[in-house]
Structure formats: C-alpha cells, structure tokens
C-alpha cells in the first residue's frame, strides 16, 4: 500500500502493518467479533440517549444486551470464524491461526505425560479461550455490575412498568409491591403515596388498561381519569427518574459552539442566556414577544419615554 512513500519509517511501518497485523487471520477474526459487539452496544447507547428515555425501556434494553452476550458467548465465535474465513479467502490469506511452535522441553523424569493437554488444543481453540471468552465474560459481568442499580429500581417500580405486568400480579404480590414503594418514597413523616390506596387504585386500573401499555401511556390514561391520585403520583415519580445525562452532554456540545476559541471571554450571564435560547428554542417559540418588549421597556425610564411617549 504505502510502498510509494518516501519516508523509510512510514513505508516500513506500513509494510509491517500490512503483513503482520492486517494479514493475520487473528486480526480478521477479532475485527469481526468487535464489530458485532460494538454495533450492538452502539445501538443500545443511541437508544438510551434519546430525550424522553424511560427507565423501563432502559432496563429492558440493558437486559437484552446481557442476554445477547450470553448467547453470543456460545454461538458467536464459530460464526465469526466462518465470516473471517470468507474474507480471508478473498484476500488470499491462509485461514489458519498462526501456530506457535511448541517449545520442546526436556522432560524430567518425574513429570507425567498429562501436560500435553495444552499442546493438544488447536490454535483456534486457544484463541477462543484467551480472547473471545474473556471479552464476553467481562462484558456480562461488567454490565450486570454497572446496571445493578437498575435492578433496584425494578424491584421498587417494576410492577408499574407495563400494563401486562400489572395484570400478571396477584393481589398479595401487588400489595407487597405497593408497600415496598411506599417505603421507598418515605422520608421521615412525609410520604408521597399511601400503599393501601395505591393498591386499591391499581386494582381498579389494571382491569381497565389495554395490553402492552408503557408507563407514559398509562399516565396519559390516568390523566383523563383524575380519581386515581396515588397512581398518578407513582407514575410521575417513575417517569421522573433519569436514565442518562445525555441532555447534559448535549448542552456541552452547545457550550463548545458558543464558547469557542474566538469567543472565550464571554461572561457567564451571556453564555447562559445564549445556551438557554439555543437549547430551549421550543419554549421560546411559545412566548409572546410583547411581554419581552414590555419587560425591556420597563427597565429604564428613558425607554418608557420613548415607548410610551411621555
């Protein structure tokens, strides 16, 4: 590729890259594996970043991801090998892992014959064990660890997530869930909901709800029937729980545009104003300009004279 280059360092590097790394079958397999993993995670990540992300969907998709990895651990490797072999054929690469030469070691007289096992394993088996399995295992364990919290939420709010779930519960477990939620939403003397009332309300509601309604739909449904106050509060709190700070990151991308290298001496006030306008332009559209003009005029007597002709 880079044979035409003048720079000896670059050309040698390119050559080594092409021959030793890209040319290796190992690289092909790993690139296929990583592509699968990354694209899957990217999908979930994009999903999580949406502005009205709800915690139930987040939990669902993370669980989906974990189960994907569990499945991938069993089947993914052979599939990746297949795909890699195809590419390898196309590229005239020998579809075999480079075998490490077995180190012949003089066998001591007291050693058994059973340590041949490592040698007997084929190269691709080795690759699987050393590379693929650790990655996927790490993924699973780290996902479960990092999203542990979600499990906590699910224990507290899980029964509210969908109408299907509400229906599937029997009375005792629903009651238990309500009490659980009440405890979670209690601080000292104050509490947001009353378990018994919530239980009664949910008992009514769950028979009215259609199938597969998300919490947002349920809340809308309840809004039209404002005689389930506890249930409405429970859903409002459920929906308020944040999933990601993607919105904050979004605001940073505006920050970068606003306070750029050339505009670095902006005051905090102006920065805040500009960022607010840029991010919440929807809200601004609804605001009456007359009000703003009035506010502008009323700050200064001179303007009053100009605008009110006094």
């Amino acid at each position: 590729v880079a044979e035409s280059d003048n720079d000896p360092l670059a050309s040698s590097e390119a050559k080594s890259l092409a021959e030793n790394e890209l040319g290796g079958f190992e690289f092909l397999v790993s690139i296929i594996i990583w592509y699968e993993i990354l694209s899957k995670i990217n999908l979930v990540s994009k999903q999580l970043q949406s502005k009205d992300m709800l915690i139930d969907i987040a939990i669902e998709s993370v669980q989906g991801l974990i189960s994907f990895f569990k499945k991938y651990r069993e089947t993914g490797y052979s599939k990746a090998l297949e795909a890699a072999k195809e590419i390898a054929l196309e590229m005239d690469i020998h579809p075999e892992f480079r075998k490490r030469r077995n180190i012949k070691r003089k066998r001591q007289f007291d050693e058994g014959a059973d340590d041949d096992s490592s040698e007997s394993r084929s190269a691709d088996e080795l690759f699987r064990i050393d590379y693929f399995i650790p990655i996927v295992d790490q993924a699973i364990s780290s996902l479960t660890r990092r999203f542990e919290q979600y499990q906590g939420y699910e224990r507290k709010f899980g029964f509210l997530f969908t109408s299907d779930r509400l229906r599937s519960l029997d009375d005792t477990s629903l009651m238990a869930a309500c009490v659980n939620l009440e405890n979670a939403l209690k601080s000292g003397e104050q509490k947001d909901i009353d378990a018994n009332e919530l239980f009664e309300e949910l008992n009514f509601i769950r028979n009215l709800l259609k199938e597969s309604m998300g919490p947002l739909d349920i809340l809308k449904f309840l809004k039209e029937r404002p005689f389930y106050p506890n249930a409405i509060i429970a859903y409002r709190i459920l929906l308020t729980i944040p999933v990601t700070v993607a919105s904050a990151e979004r605001s940073f991308s505006k920050l970068k545009l606003l306070k750029s290298y050339l505009r670095s001496t902006m005051t905090q006030e102006r920065l805040n104003g500009l960022a607010t306008i840029a991010l919440e332009i929807d809200v601004l559209e609804k605001i009456n300009y007359e009000d703003i003009i009035e506010a502008f005029i009323s700050t200064n007597t001179r303007r009053m004279m100009l605008f009110h002709g006094m």
Partner: protein, 553 residues
C-alpha cells in the same frame, strides 16, 4: 365708494389686530372647543362636470327659483353691495342667533364697526364670538399651519342666515345657494361655498385657501357679491379645473385626518406612530437576537458601526433587513443621519435582550416544573474553552399538560471546586435561586465520576442525606461506555487490536498523500480515529475496516 373702501379697509385692519389678540386670549383659555365646526350633514358630493340647469333649494324647504331673486334685484355694482336698506329686516333674526356672544366680544365689535351702517353692527355682533380662522377675512393672513387646521375642519356655515342684506339693486344672498341642484332634481351640498356676513360676499373655501399662484375669479380672491350673477358664476366655478383640483386636495387632506378631530389628536397620533415604530424596531432586534442565539452564531465583530467592515453578524443582519424592511430601514437611516442616539444595537442591549429572553424561557420552564412538582436533576461537568469548569444543570420532569417527559436545560454553573461538597453547594444554591424545593427532587442523574456518585463524599450521597427520596441513577450511556472499556482492557490481545486499528489510521492520516492513496483504493467509508472516551464511537472506526479490509491492503 372710495371713502367707503378706505373706511372699510382701516376697519378691517383694526379688526384683524383685535382678532389676533382675541385668538391669543381665547386659546389661552383653552376655548378652542367653541370653534367646533357645525358641519352640515349633507352628502358632500361635488360633481364638477354636471352642467347647468340648477335650481337652488333652501335648507328649510324654502324653494327659490334662481331667477326669482335675480329678477328681484336690479343689476348693480358688486363692490357696494354691503348692507343697506334691507338689513333692518335681517337684524332681528341675526340678533336672535347671536348666541353666547359675550360682552367683551361685543365691545370689540362695536369698536371695529366704524363707519359701517347700523345694519352691519348686528352682523358683527353675530360673528363676533368667532373672530377666528373661520372668518374669510382672516384667511389671507393665515400661516400654513392654521390653513392646515382650517382645511381639516372645513368651512363654517351659519345656517341661521337665510338671506344676506339686500344690495342697492334689491338683490341679496340666499342660503339656497348652498345647494346645487342636479339635472335629476337631486340636491347636492356646495360645501365649499362660504358666505361672509361681515363682507356680504361669498367665497370658495378651497380655492381661496389652497390656491397656488395667481388664480382668477373673485370667489377665490376678494369675494363675490354680484348676487344677480351668482347662480351662473357658481356653476361656472364649480366646473372649473382649478376648483376641482383644489377640492380634491382638500378632501384628501380631510380624509387623512378623519379620525383626528382635535389638534391634540394629531400630536397624539404622531406619538402613537413613533411608539409603534420603536416597538417594531425592538421586535425585529429581538428576532435577530433569537435567530443568532438559536444558531449559535457570534454576534459581534471587531467593529461596532453600521456599514463598516467586520462589524459582526448582528449588525450585518440589521443591514440586510434594512434592505427589505421599511421599519428597520427607517431606523438605520435615523442612525446614519445622527438623528437619534438610542439605536438599541449596542452590545449591552444585546446582552439585556439575551438575558430577557433567557429569563422568559427559564421562568416558563420553572412554572412547568412547579406544576409537575416532582423533578430530577441531571448534572455534568466539563471544562470550557476558557478553562473554566462548567457544570450544566438539567431538570427532568413530567409535563403535566402534554403528559410527556421533558428534560430542560436551566443553565451552566461556574464551579471552581469540583469536589463533591463544592458541586453540591453550587447545586443547592442554584436550586434556591430558581425557587425549586429540594424536597421534590425524586431522582438524580450524574456521570460516573467519583465526585458525583461517590458513596461517601459524592454529590449523590449528600443529596440523599437531605432528601432520601432522591433516587440516584448513574448515566446508562456512561455505564455502557465503561463496560466496553472494561472489555477492551480485559485481555492483552484486545488492547493490541485497538492499537493496530489506531496505527492504521495514523499511517494514512499523517500525510495527505497517503490519504489520497487510501481514497483511491476505497470508496465509501473512510478510516476514523479512535476516541479515548467515547467507546461506542469506535464502532465507526471498526466498521470502516471491517467491510473494507481487502481494499485497504
């Protein structure tokens, strides 16, 4: 005749003098209201091209054939048509209409009625309470402003005068001349016809006031009193071109001021117009500010004058708008001509407007959040271009009206102390400023930095201390990212793999020549660099190689 004229002239001059004095006094009294025009309620259609055959009709159903008075009065000089003989008959009637004429006025009139016959005195008295612009005698002396007002108000007609005094031929003015009779016997008011009792002459209101240059005809100049030929003369006049032109001008002017019946209103109207103008200017400036802010465009350049180079986007937009929009154009014209000092285009005004807009938005959001009662806070920090740590505060709440979940930005907070305690203090302070209750926080979302989520010193723990219901949840995306990070670090070969990918990229990207080779060989996706923080972005770099390995080699 000459003595009469001399006497009369001097009298007129005296009267004028007095009148001026009187006007001043009366205007000080604010008694202008008394000169309200007694508008005739007739349809004011003047059809100048309608020919002859006119019968003059009296207002009070007193029908006269035009020939009748004409036959009555023998032919005579029009100059000496001032009252004689027949005046006595009118005197009673005139006195009867002399309503509200105060003593002062009477005195003045008596003083001025020098040498005139007795009969005229009563006429003077009658007119004396209006020594004002409506008197045709004063018209020659009026300045343009007064003419303006007079034109606006229209002529004043004393309907109580049915007949003028008889001249020496026994002819006299008749109120029936005010009406023009069309061929189909419809009557039509001659609004322009003005009869001056003092002079016993008729004038054309508009021709006398609006005349340009020298206009012939007594109607437009010293007045007409040849009662014998009045009918004929009026017909001739109202069909003349000058008259029609003047009438049009007069009506146009009146239409302009139709809604403004007093002098005050004119001024008021002007002020109103000015106010409207300023409002419009301000509205446009606000829209410009909004546009620039919405699109993250810089406002100012290195120069802050209109129509100069490098004056920035804000002034640039103003200039552009001035090309199309008359309001802004007017504003810009005033600025460039140094007519006004408040141009509202300066940086401090921009800041003020930005602030106002932002405050309006923020208060709208806060109102919604309060309605929703429960909210959660999302915090994240980053250093900005000026190396200041900025923490962005975002509130998540359920919009009660639309029933959807909203995440609204409420501002960047400058933080100097990035420990958990420092951030927490700033957060509390800001919530207090925004008038939001910490007790209503039902969730908190942060990235996975230890200053945020730390179990002992993190913001989340501190917030939980004062509000145990503020459920903390780590950012899902950050968690996923970190998961990937764990995976990649889990074994040496994986780390190596990403190293290779990065090396492929750098090999090509280091020189434009090599990049060209790459571009020649592959189509579609190009190589991407790796980001050290955003792992999911690596999918792009991996994807590029994954599908194009053959081409790259």
């Amino acid at each position: 005749m000459s003595t009469r004229n001399r006497k009369y002239d001097s009298g007129a001059e005296k009267r004028k003098k007095k009148q001026r004095l009187e006007t001043a006094i009366q205007s000080q009294k604010g008694a202008l209201e008394r000169f309200i025009v007694r508008e005739t309620a007739h349809a004011n259609v003047i059809e100048a091209d309608t020919p002859a055959a006119q019968v003059l009709q009296g207002d009070n159903a007193l029908e006269f054939d035009i020939e009748a008075p004409a036959a009555e009065i023998p032919e005579g000089g029009h100059d000496d048509g001032t009252a004689n003989g027949g005046d006595d008959g009118d005197q009673d009637h005139d006195n009867g209409t002399a309503n509200g004429g105060d003593d002062g006025d009477q005195e003045h009139d008596n003083g001025t009625a020098n040498g005139g016959d007795d009969g005229n005195i009563s006429n003077h008295i009658n007119n004396s309470f209006q020594p004002d612009i409506f008197d045709p005698r004063t018209w020659n002396a009026l300045d343009s402003k007064m003419i303006y007002i007079l034109l606006q108000k229209g002529p004043k007609r004393d309907l109580s005068i049915k007949y003028g005094p008889r001249d020496r031929f026994g002819r006299r003015f008749s109120a029936s001349s005010y009406n023009r009779i069309l061929p189909n016997r419809e009557t039509c008011d001659r609004e322009w016809l003005v009869y001056s009792k003092d002079l016993d002459k008729v004038f054309c209101f508009c021709c006398k006031l609006i005349k340009k240059g020298l206009v012939r005809g007594q109607l437009a100049n010293e007045g007409f009193n040849d009662w014998t030929h009045l009918g004929h003369r009026l017909k001739e006049h109202e069909t003349s071109r000058e008259h029609v032109t003047n009438m049009t001008a007069w009506y146009d002017l009146r239409l302009m001021f139709q809604n403004d019946q007093t002098i005050d209103n004119v001024a008021q109207r002007e002020l109103q117009k000015e106010r409207e103008h300023w409002r419009k200017v301000l509205q446009r400036i606000i829209l410009i500010v909004k546009y620039l802010a919405e699109h993250n465009i810089a406002f100012r350049g290195s120069n802050s004058r209109l129509y100069q180079d490098h004056n920035g986007n804000f002034l640039g937009l103003v200039q552009m708008l001035a090309e199309f929009d008359p309001v802004i154009k007017e504003h810009v014209d005033r600025i460039t001509n140094d007519k006004i000092r408040d141009h509202y285009l300066g940086p401090s005004i921009q800041n003020e407007l930005i602030n106002l807009l932002a405050t309006a938005i923020r208060s709208a959001i806060i109102a919604k959040v309060k309605e929703a009662k429960y909210f959660s806070v999302l915090l994240d920090c980053t250093p900005d271009a000026s190396h200041q740590e900025q923490m962005s505060l975002i509130i998540r709440y359920v919009d009660t009206t639309s029933g959807s979940v909203q995440e609204s930005f409420l501002g960047f907070l400058e933080v100097s102390d990035t420990t958990g305690q420092g951030l927490f203090d700033v957060l509390l302070e800001e919530l207090k400023d925004l008038d939001l209750d910490v007790d209503n926080v039902r969730g908190q979302g942060y990235d996975n930095g230890s200053n945020m989520k730390g179990k002992h010193q993190g913001v989340q723990n501190k917030l939980l201390d004062i509000n145990p219901r503020a459920f903390y949840s780590a950012c899902g995306c950050h968690s996923l990212n970190l998961t990937l990070c764990d995976m990649a670090k889990s074994c040496r070969k994986a780390t190596e793999f990403f190293g290779v990918i990065q090396r492929i990229y750098t090999t090509f990207a280091n020189s434009t020549k090599r990049w060209q080779i790459l571009k020649d060989n592959i189509s579609g996706l190009t190589l991407k660099s790796l980001s050290s923080t955003r792992w999911e972005s690596r999918v792009d770099s991996v994807k590029a190689i994954r599908f194009q390995i053959p081409e790259i080699i």
